[in-house]
């Protein structure tokens, strides 16, 4: 690969051979200038700050000082992660002018790795969506077909890497928001096991489901950035105290023997025929390596979307209660006297600020979650959903007792057209049918490119592994990559 099409590893090698971090960052800033008016991946780019970081890396190298694992490599950041002194909007009018006074843990880790933070990317508002159409600002386009969605909610981060505007990016995944856009944009996207990466500084959507993860062109970059992101952080009490394996050192070791579970429930109606063929071809690649493909059943997976839209919305209704216009964020400018009369000035301010500031999808989910948790409905909805959640997790425990990983399509279709599902919330929710269970069970998942439709749209293979088996998962994903070469494809822009 040359120029902006290079991977992070290639950019590190190039710097070892004399290319400057400043020149590299400049080339990606150029790419953003040329391509982003069409792709619209970025919400905020601070050129001066990015170049300053790059120059600092060059100065360190010149002085012979030790350099971090991602030295001089530009990384785009989903605007759901707090960056000190830089806007963090979560794709929402409610945080349009919010500037966090602190860095998220993963941002600190990236800075310590000498990465160059190149900009904040567009997303569905508060990470709620599967197409990036719910951003309060604009819709990001799929670099493979600008009339189509890039997926969501981390659409901006996925599009930025696919369009070679940055070699690496970060997203967040609550029901598939990294894996689905990775699949639709033809790149690698990983959701680590719940607790593997600290959520400190990640604006919360659903606290028992959210995880931060990377978008990369290939598996070597994925393994490398995972080493930087993973690990215990005292500021996130759900971050697990487990050592981080040297993922990049073991990456090229194939897993033998390998038993792959294929859930029969994932190959039913609604799955596009071209996507199905691509997945079956990928499985044949694994069989050529000597892997055994075995049918398994995840009998409760048809209920995953229903469970998610009760559990995630309930958690969201609680997490988003903080947006009340008092300490930060949007506050309504003009109070409605009739509402003040009825509710008092304080509650009227809450109601109007939130009613005016939140987009429709966010409001819908807050409403659902509030209802599911309300007195009289709590057990019937939220309580019941938590029980079915246990059954979904048990299904995976059983599958992993007889298989190393579970494989299937990441998304039932390739990228759909902008506006196609915008008026049908339920149809939109069903885009996540294959990704959602992973978050409910807290297990690890990755989407890797495995082909294209006849019309040139990317297709993704999803691989799921038991909790904290990232090392094995990455090696298994790498096996497919060595045989297929899909990771070398770049869209013509």
């Amino acid at each position: 690969m040359t120029g902006i099409e290079r991977t992070a590893l290639e950019l590190l090698q190039a710097q070892a051979q004399g290319e400057t971090a400043e020149a590299i960052t400049q080339s990606f800033l150029q790419a953003i200038k040329q391509r982003d008016p069409h792709v619209k991946a970025f919400l905020h780019v601070d050129e001066a700050a990015a170049l300053e970081q790059a120059r600092a890396v060059d100065a360190k190298r010149k002085k012979g000082q030790p350099l971090g694992k991602l030295a001089g490599v530009p990384v785009a950041i989903k605007d759901v992660l707090c960056t000190n002194g830089q806007p963090t909007t979560c794709g929402s009018k409610i945080l349009q002018y919010f500037v966090p006074p602190y860095d998220a843990h993963v941002i600190t880790e990236l800075k310590q790795a000498d990465a160059v933070l190149i900009g904040k990317t567009n997303m569905d508002e508060f990470a709620m969506g599967s197409s990036t159409e719910n951003s309060a600002f604009f819709t990001t386009r799929n670099p493979w077909d600008l009339e189509r969605i890039p997926g969501g909610s981390s659409g901006g981060s996925a599009a930025a890497v696919a369009a070679c505007e940055a070699p690496l990016s970060l997203g967040s995944d609550t029901g598939g928001s990294i894996r689905q856009p990775a699949s639709l944009c033809g790149i690698v996207g990983m959701k680590p096991t719940y607790g593997r990466v600290s959520r400190y500084g990640l604006v919360a959507f659903a606290s028992s489901l959210d995880q931060i993860g990377p978008f990369t062109h290939d598996m070597s970059d994925c393994a490398l950035i995972m080493e930087v992101l993973a690990g215990r952080d005292a500021r996130d009490s759900t971050s697990i105290n487990q050592p981080v394996p040297p993922y990049s050192k073991t990456l090229d070791q194939p897993v033998k023997p390998l038993t792959i579970g294929v859930a029969k429930e994932y190959f039913s109606e609604g799955l596009d025929k071209e996507v199905e063929k691509s997945i079956r071809d990928a499985l044949k690649v694994y069989e050529s390596f000597g892997a055994k493909v075995k049918e398994v059943s995840l009998p409760n997976s048809p209920y995953a979307v229903a469970v998610y839209y009760l559990v995630a919305t309930a958690e969201a209704s609680s997490n988003l209660a903080r947006y009340d216009g008092m300490h930060y964020g949007y506050r309504t400018k003009k109070l409605d006297p009739a509402l003040v009369e009825k509710q008092g000035a304080m509650i009227a301010t809450f109601m109007q600020s939130r009613g005016e500031g939140f987009g429709k999808e966010v409001q819908r989910r807050i409403m659902l979650g509030t209802y599911a948790l309300s007195s009289g409905y709590h057990d019937e909805y939220y309580g019941k959903a938590l029980k079915v959640r246990r059954l979904i997790k048990d299904d995976f425990d059983r599958a992993f007792a007889e298989c190393d990983v579970v494989m299937g399509p990441t998304s039932p279709t390739a990228a759909f057209k902008i506006g196609e599902k915008a008026d049908n919330p339920l149809a939109m929710y069903l885009s996540d049918i294959y990704t959602i269970s992973c978050n409910l069970a807290g297990i690890a998942g990755i989407s890797i490119p495995c082909g294209f439709t006849k019309s040139g749209l990317p297709i993704g293979l999803q691989i799921l592994a038991a909790p904290f088996e990232e090392e094995k998962l990455l090696r298994i994903a790498r096996m497919h990559e060595t045989a297929s070469g899909w990771h070398t494809k770049r869209p013509k822009m």
């Binding site: 006074p101 607790g195 028992s208 009340d324 109601m351 819908r364 409403m367 209802y371 909805y381």
Partner: protein
């Protein structure tokens, strides 16, 4: 199970969301469709199943009760919609 407009209004008030009449009507229709979809959970047998609120077996995490540096007043007030001296200006809470 469909939801009625009055219930939707009650939920909106609980959620501190002001909705216009048009939005209320649309919201009622959309929530009804979603609630009908999630109703399928009713037929899943869950007797004796423990709810799973959290994917990991975790226990409380403690730290020493020692003060550490926090945000400065200026940093904490930097995003305030209405800064009044060293305070957040807010609407009256009590009438």
């Amino acid at each position: 199970m469909a939801i009625e407009k009055e219930q939707v209004q009650w939920v909106a008030t609980l959620a501190r969301l002001q909705l216009s009449d048009a939005d209320l009507a649309k919201m009622t229709q959309q929530l009804s469709a979603i609630l009908e979809y999630v109703d399928q959970l009713k037929k899943v047998p869950t007797d004796g199943v423990e709810p799973l609120a959290h994917p990991l077996k975790v226990s409380n995490v403690f730290r020493d009760d020692a003060p550490v540096p926090s945000l400065t007043v200026d940093a904490a007030l930097a995003n305030a919609p209405d800064r009044t001296g060293d305070f957040f200006g807010v609407p009256p809470i009590l009438d």
